[in-house]
Symmetry: C2
Subunit: 505 residues, 2 copies
């Protein structure tokens, strides 16, 4: 998740000023509503040293009625250290209708368990379990838990440390552990990333914030905070209404208001970062194809020899070229070693089971390859957008899917996940081609055109999916697919490169 | 939990026959209702080797319509072993309206991680997390998960192995690992106990079964199974009704029907096992008191020196003698080293927080002692019985409390929990004494008399509490308190003995 953030984003002064004014009014209103509803709100600011947590907390406080909040520093006092770890957090949980803000959250112990030469996996598991228990217990009781992680790059962090040290008044702010964090940037980032993944739950979401540009970070934090308050208030009021009307209300309202306060241009889009102008010439393609197909052939033998199971997941826009891509992949493979599973709407038997059930049947045995043309991610795309499941269900699904994928990789399965990305114009071009060229006509249906009308809704869903489920165990690869040749080679190369970390071939 | 089971229980043939007929009819009805409601039911039989899992599964199946169930052996086939661990369980989860029974559940890997000389704590944590994820995902989707653990003693197991080996036809059934389990009985029991604790959740409860007497075990399993089906069906129908009527309905019906099918005399009662005839003469008491109070004094110094925090929790019937007991405990202690926290109904500030919040304030710092006169267990006793919280809330509380206590002990706190037990006659005698003796009069209120009328409801709640929250980290001690002298000495001795495992004094 952290690596997917684009840290170059920024906001000009004028836009900042406008949005700040707007958000200040809205958060004031929402705070009063939360107070009247008796909803406790617990906010944590986590992130890098020198990422600006203090500044951002101040900004947030300025939007709030000072009679309604309390701020705590999570770092333990000498007195705190004589008590059990969780006491200082529990004692400071907010009362009904109040807001408590923590400068640093309750995750430091978990991060520290991995931020060392010999990671303490037992301690990591335990700490994450305790974090989840703390947050679940509060959420079950009606507390809104909002967690921010402020992310900056290694160079930026060093620059900030240097600037602080240059000034005699602030030099004391830079400690040895701070400098060490900068030197061991990657180690700390991976530790934090693992904790974020394990503790990003439907009852306590992480909000990652690009924090190099102060103004941008402020507006994003305030926007996300306003959204979180609104969602929390909505859930609260719904849970006192009729259960019968619940499903429709939450899913209905959810789609309309989920991001009412975060300006559209600030919703981090992984898709928008893809460079769709990438192409490959016919000649370069022919060379590359024979090279990488030979490697795929070797790979198949190697993973059979070493008994490693491989799952390749294809997702992408309609007409993004999944079919042709899969054909280039399977061409050099031994047909006894792989299966292709085309996934469409579940049949009657499948509908009688948990939505993940049918996908467990596609898991390959050791030494074999499963290729899925569409996957379990349908839950958070088509089922979300078309309302085939409730909001509660698709929100829960991110964690369920991450749990499933971690279990698979834990068991030794290698997972490679592709999103084949094209833009809206390219899709139109391909749709029209399919409609006019006789032998491509079978590929296009009315449903494709209907889906196309919901492109923007799908894009929001895809971006959230890429973001929430790109884990250390199973990262997504976005494939720039306006040029089919480029896309095919990128897929082959990615598979070979991923596997070569596991295999000697 | 396992140690609390009384394995000597049994059932005569006639009662068995009657109850079996009755339960067969009821389970048949409930199975048809589950089928019509489309509720999937997943049943696991876990337990010792030779505890009779096969026999009991057969008994259960005979009550069922054979068109509605499937039985699986959880042990992996050679083919299964080539796939990820969870695949064989996922693939065999029941479809809507069907029942799947597993001979052995999905917990073996977790138990094995501790059943070895050097326990694999990392593997244990991961395995339990995966078990919880599996069960939560299914339960969230509407599957009823029912788990039985069949418990037998070490001698009984050996007797059964011997009997099997004596017969040439069955000798093959006893394997080397079976015999090893018997030799290392305590190691396996503790491993199983830890897994039971970690995986006993509100969405997938464990049902422990005394399995030395076959007839008793059968009736208990069938009774529990019928209750589980009924509860599952009720939840299912409630969740499609109005949320507004939900709280009252569940809590109301819950109290009436929770154990409709398990005969009253088969509900394992920890309280009933207490021998209330235990007494101590005045002389013996005087000697013991001075001995143990001296030890308590030494203890206070030792734990201060070694910086160990100690929490002593008192629960018990009204008039069980908590106050006098606490006075004898604190008499020899340095007043700077301990606090006594009397706990009554929460005040306005406390009510604005999570119910556990106020108790985190009573956690002692290192080297100090906190004594609680009534505790967080109010949630699962008075709040449950009086309907001050919903059924959902008190059911959730067992896990919340176990999580909190594990966090405390994990941080180094030593927890000692006492239930001061008297019988109903003794309580009446004391109540009447309080009412007639002028200087004891302040101790008795109308509320005490009202509570007394609900003795039976409280007893059910107390028994479930003792059972579900007596963990390896923080076991309960039931104190036989009809004789106050006996009770006082037992408390002092228990505290000293528990602490001396941690201290050298």
């Amino acid at each position: 998740m952290l690596q997917d953030l684009d840290l170059s984003v920024s906001l000009d002064k004028e836009t900042y000023k406008d949005r700040l004014d707007d958000l200040t009014i809205r958060i004031g209103q929402l705070q009063r509503q939360a107070r009247d509803a008796g909803m406790p709100v617990l906010v944590a600011f986590e992130g890098w040293e020198a990422s600006g947590k203090g500044t951002q907390i101040n900004q947030l406080l300025q939007t709030l009625d000072p009679r309604g909040y309390t701020v705590h520093v999570a770092a333990p006092s000498e007195e705190d250290k004589r008590f059990p770890y969780w006491r200082r957090f529990w004692n400071r949980t907010p009362a009904a209708g109040r807001i408590t803000v923590f400068d640093r959250g309750w995750c430091l112990e978990a991060i520290d368990s991995l931020y060392r030469e010999n990671p303490d996996m037992d301690g990591f598991e335990r700490a994450c379990r305790e974090i989840n228990a703390f947050e679940r217990q509060l959420a079950d009781d009606g507390t809104l838990v909002v967690k921010f992680f402020l992310h900056i790059g290694r160079k930026e962090q060093k620059k900030r440390f240097d600037a602080l040290e240059e000034n005699d008044n602030t030099a004391w702010k830079v400690s040895k552990p701070d400098r060490k964090q900068n030197r061991q940037y990657k180690l700390w980032r991976d530790a934090a990333q693992s904790v974020l993944e394990r503790t990003d739950t439907e009852f306590a979401r992480w909000h990652l914030v690009e924090a190099e540009d102060r103004r941008y970070a402020t507006i994003k934090i305030l926007g996300l905070f306003a959204d979180a308050l609104q969602t929390g208030l909505r859930k609260r009021s719904v849970s006192t209404q009729h259960a019968a009307t619940r499903k429709t209300e939450t899913s209905g309202k959810g789609r309309k208001t989920a991001h009412a306060h975060l300006p559209e241009d600030m919703r981090a889009s992984i898709l928008d970062k893809a460079d769709l102008s990438l192409t490959l010439s016919k000649e370069a393609y022919a060379d590359a194809l024979s090279h990488w197909q030979q490697r795929i052939c070797d790979l198949g033998n190697a993973l059979y020899r070493e008994r490693i199971p491989l799952m390749i997941l294809y997702e992408g826009w309609d007409a993004a070229g999944k079919g042709g891509n899969i054909r280039r992949l399977t061409a050099p493979m031994d047909p006894r070693g792989y299966d292709v599973h085309p996934v469409s709407a579940p049949n009657e038997v499948e509908r009688a089971h948990h939505y993940l059930w049918r996908f467990w049947q596609t898991v390959p045995k050791s030494g074999h390859v499963s290729i899925l043309d569409r996957t379990w991610y349908g839950r958070v795309m088509v089922e979300r957008v078309e309302g085939f499941c409730t909001e509660e269900e698709w929100r829960r699904a991110y964690r369920e899917i991450n749990e499933m994928e971690e279990e698979l990789t834990q068991s030794g399965v290698v997972l490679v996940k592709f999103w084949l990305h094209i833009d809206k114009d390219e899709q139109l071009r391909r749709f029209e081609e399919r409609q006019t060229v006789a032998w491509k006509n079978w590929k296009i249906t009315d449903e494709d055109w209907r889906n196309r009308e919901k492109w923007d809704q799908y894009k929001v869903a895809v971006d959230e999916m890429l973001f929430r489920t790109s884990t250390t165990h199973a990262p997504w690869t976005v494939v720039e697919a306006n040029d089919k040749r480029y896309a095919r080679i990128k897929v082959l190369r990615t598979i070979v490169e991923t596997m070569s970390q596991r295999l000697s071939f």
